[in-house]
Amino acid sequence: MIGIEQIGVYIPKKRLSNLDLRDKFQIDEDFVKNKIGVVSRSLKAPDEKASDLCIKAFEDLQSKVSFSLEEIQCCVVVTQNPDYNVPHVSAIVHGVIGLSEQCACFDISLGCSGYVYGLSIVTAFMQANGMEKGVLFTADPYSEIIDEEDKNTVLIFGDAATATLLDVNADLTPLGYDFGSKGAGYKNLINEGKLSMNGRAVFNFTATSVPISINVLLNKLELNKEDIDRWYFHQGSKYIIDTITRRLGLDKEKVVFDMYEYGNTVSSSIPILLSNDLAALHKGEKIGLSGFGVGLSWASAIFKKN
């Protein structure tokens, strides 16, 4: 079965401090650290585009696992901040990396739910077409659309990219997924020249929809929450992760949180966390993933280490 083999990550080194914005937005250190959970935000160079971030994540992937470029049969990028409206970012990445002309390329337009959606889409695409190796990229450089004066968004988002190698012989494979959308709320997180967010509406959406999604998925798979060894939620903010953890009644020790030093990296947040833990997963362990946000949409999955 096709699963996750390895994950490459690129987080730009440059940081912007949220502590420097305390006076401007009348917030204190406790709020920055314990509510937002973002002390500093990663920032790409002005001339770096989504494709550049993907290529650096791919270089990291190549440093972690051995494979030849000719083996890659599909190249898929999740982004809503592409280099251009035309062409798709995956074509640019394909050309720069030098992948085979037989390699399929397409983009997926999703935000924070995009990685989990992408895992399902790409593994199904590979399965349907007899492919053995593919790469799923995430790269959504929100620094290009952030309004520096908007307290609701400027303190949260950071730039990053990931490259996940999906392989027919990988041993971290999906048990099942749950997807959903509340399209009536699309205006609550929208880019109309600059990003704007109705924080309360997005919070309500997340706090109510994600626990339901997780419970639906666990029921479908006849699993209990105690059967899951680690939870990887989209790192929206510390407050939202704490809220989901509390409302689901999860063991805090099983819920991964790490965005203090780079921020909410949109579709890259889950694979960044997962990349740190891949080698430590033991045979038989199960992990839960859930991405949620733009759309408003969500996607949850349970994976098992075989």
Partner: protein, 78 residues
């Protein structure tokens, strides 16, 4: 819905993701002046909506500065 009391709202504050001990809050002082931040307020409003099965529109929120404001508002909705 029977009349909502200060004690019921404080109980909801305890259920919300607010770190402050609800019983230590003064009912007639703005919550924002008692260490309750904007994210806490979002959590509190959601729990109020769920527990009392009402919708609190965004335009009503500015009027909900204190626990007493919330009690009056909830009772006006019943």
């Amino acid at each position: 819905m029977s009349d909502v009391t200060v004690e019921q709202v404080i109980s909801v504050i305890g259920k919300s993701n607010i770190t402050k001990d609800g019983s230590m809050l003064s009912p007639d002082k703005p919550l924002s002046e008692q260490g309750v931040d904007s994210l806490d307020i979002s959590g509190l409003l959601l729990t109020l909506e769920e527990d009392f099965k009402i919708a609190i529109p965004d335009e009503d929120i500015d009027a909900l500065q204190t626990i007493n404001d919330i009690v009056s508002y909830m009772n006006s909705k019943s």
